[in-house]
Amino acid sequence: MNQQCGIVVKYFASLKEKLGRSEDYFTLTRSMTVSDVWAQLNPELTPPEQLKVAVNLDYVSWDWVVNPGDEVAFFPPVTGG
């Protein structure tokens, strides 16, 4: 896989445990939103309503278009502090 054409997808906390994995590598073959990325990688699971998504360490909405080289992350509401 050419890293430049791929994206890294990370999962955290309860989502990571539910999916049983913490990271996916994925090669973009067409223009995709984060919503498309989720559907491609987790077709069996409708994303929980509260699920958050970040691209390159910033929060984005589900219609955000990803680019090759991006780091995408899905995670439940944060509970720190």
Binding site: L57, Y59, P76, V78, G80, G81
Partner: protein, 150 residues
């Protein structure tokens, strides 16, 4: 300064140390300091929590804390701020978070400190998993809103 720590820390020692490193010309301008310390209670929603595990998103957590600190500096007149957040395995009475804000006047310190705590709790990627006596470990679902009285 923003720090994520893996080990138990004492908030008052941390503040002492941090303030000792400030220059005298800065210390002489400080009129107000507001500090929030969040620590682990042994009860949450009626069940006894024996320990917790705090997960975070290395990189994003620091970036988000940096952004909220920048927002606080835009909105209030601040001299310095300090955020220390614990990750990993924690036990009752352990400190989870320290937020400190230094300013010339008290309104800025009070308001910026509270803003930082609320922003941290809603934006910074940390997740708590509680280990409850006699039950399976469970992830905390969502933080409460802190401005309940306003």
């Amino acid at each position: 300064m923003i720090t994520i720590v893996q080990e138990t820390f004492n908030p008052w020692d941390a503040l002492q140390t941090y303030q000792q490193q400030m220059e005298l010309r800065v210390l002489r301008t400080l009129g107000a300091t507001n500090v929030f310390v969040g620590s682990m209670r042994d009860f949450n929603q009626e069940v006894q929590v024996e320990r917790m595990v705090l997960e975070y998103y290395p990189g994003m957590t620091e970036k988000q804390l940096g952004m909220i600190t920048a927002q606080a500096n835009e909105q209030w007149s601040l001299i310095d701020s300090l955020i220390i957040h614990r990750v990993g395995e924690v036990f009752p009475t352990d400190v989870l978070v320290l937020v400190a804000v230094w300013s010339a006047h008290r309104a800025d310190a009070f308001e910026a400190c509270r803003f930082l705590m609320e922003a941290l709790k809603s934006q910074a990627p940390f997740w708590k998993k509680e280990c409850v006596a006699g039950q399976q470990a469970r992830w905390v679902a969502e933080n409460t809103v802190g401005y309940k009285h306003y």
